[in-house]
Amino acid sequence: MGQSMVGLVQNETVKLLRRRRFLVVVLILAILIPIFTYAQYRSVVTAQERMGTTDWRPLLTQQIVDMQNRLASSRLPEEWRDFIKIRIQQQQYYLDHDINPMAPGGPTFARGFMDQAISMFLPMIIVVLAVDLVSAEFSEGTIKLLLTRPVRRWKVLTSKYITMLLFTSLTVLTTLILAYLISGVVFGYSGWDLPILTGFEVTDGELTTTGAFMLPQWQFLLMQYGLGWFVCIVVGTVTFMVSVLVRSAAAGMGIMMAALISGTILTQMASSWESSKYLFVVNLQLTDYLNGTLPPIKGMTLPFSLTVLSVWAIAALVVAYLVFTRKDVTS
């Protein structure tokens, strides 16, 4: 009776689409991205007003000269010297290619958007998508139809999980496309090749720039959205477990919101409580490792965060499968 997984995933896809979950997600993105675009536009305008000029070239030239002067100073440590050299290269690139670093294009907006969205906005959207994937079948009673078919329970759950993975991936992709297309209307669509500084390392709580290098923006975006995708998969998996454990979508939503929000609060104040770094919600801001922002808690690195997130996801999956395959269905 090996019913094809493709058919089961097709079933789940039909249900998810017809429940309009994905439509809601796309609508949220389509409404919020223009708002963020406008906010970004206002901040660019304000910055220009403060400078008192719309011509950014002299400003950039001045910055380059400043940095060259610092290089000439002999008191500068060696590692700083390299970093400043890279910065100069970057600024020079902007100047040579006639790019205003203050007025970003679509790709730059998409990059900034992921930086902002990765720890809260995107996870919340994924929660909306995944929170009733299993629990709705229980609350609507359709679980009785689902589990009285010649399909083992683990297969039913797997089809749901695969569907969650598919739509989570699609959501991240849609975020990139919408952020690029919508912001491009205001900022233009160029900037894929813009050099971005990355490669920072944190040793003993200090940011070292020795490994810093430049990357074309499209490559940087790929890395960044890859990390965003990973975060979404992990949040989706934990939400999936909650959906198995909690029958009401509202309760599931509440649990996940509380977790995500407390994660944000903890990252802001948890530097003294070191072991909070093992919570998955504290490890969501993965893009910070690319940007060279100091991590909220000592000892956190990109591999560390990836490991913590993976462990949480695997544990959530194990719990979800154990409970789902054993649970008695009662009314």
Partner: protein, 319 residues
Amino acid sequence: MAETVLSVKGLKKAIGGKPIIHDITFDVYAGEVFGFLGPNGAGKTTTIRMLVGLAKADGGDVRIADISLQDRFPEAIAQVGCIVENPELYKFLTGRENLEQFARMSGGISTQRIEEIVRFVDLERAIDDKVKTYSLGMRQRLGIAQALLHRPKILILDEPTNGLDPAGIRELRQFIRRLAEEEGLAVFISSHLLSEIEMMCDRVAIISQGKVISVGVVNELMEQFADQVEWTIPLSHMEQAASVLREIKAVTEVWQSGEERLKTRMDIEQVSAVNQTLVGKGVPVTGIATKTVTLEDLFLTLTGGGKEHGTEHGGTRTK
């Protein structure tokens, strides 16, 4: 003997440490409608949940078409069509999309089969409407369509007439008889209504407090507990009345149920004719009370819990 489609042996279940189902055992054969009768809370739904794999039994064995439900769940459940409690379908999908969902889960079901089953339950006109626009009766029919889609050998229905109007109940009854008689399907129906089981079923298992207390052919069971009439007759004429009553064909049993009281087991429709005979023979009848056997009486009798009935039947039944 017809093929045994469902065989339940020594089924046990405890919920929260409390035993709910004790040793339920019965067989259901192909082509029969089998009633599963019991008051609310007797464990009917719990048993059904175990029969269709929604709940795990703590002990005992369920075999469907001789395939163990525990060991080979997909093969066994492929022979079962069921509606547990209400037919809950995906309300945001159309009737057809619902059936397509189940077709993909069962495998090997053609588009023609879907058309066929839609015609069979008479839903052709509404099948492309969303289920949320359906009436309860239509949902019930779509529920039956999904249960029959994969050509099961046994159909399991949990309280199928709940919420249906009298016309709907009659329709369902005819439909179920047809399935059993024409398609050779075994149909397992749970109910707390004796009349419903009486009209639909060939055999019945009666359960109370998680135990099967009687399994048998419905007619025999009913005959045993047929309707009763109580006659009030002056003491002086008791002997005479009893002998007159015993000679009447419609009366199957006569016994004294109290002072000035005689009870008969008989067809209630014959009451006035019997009364005329009694009066004609000079027996002054001062009161007649008819008593229909209710399910509750039956349970009380079978479980020995009813004082009055227990002594009556125990003390005076003569065969």
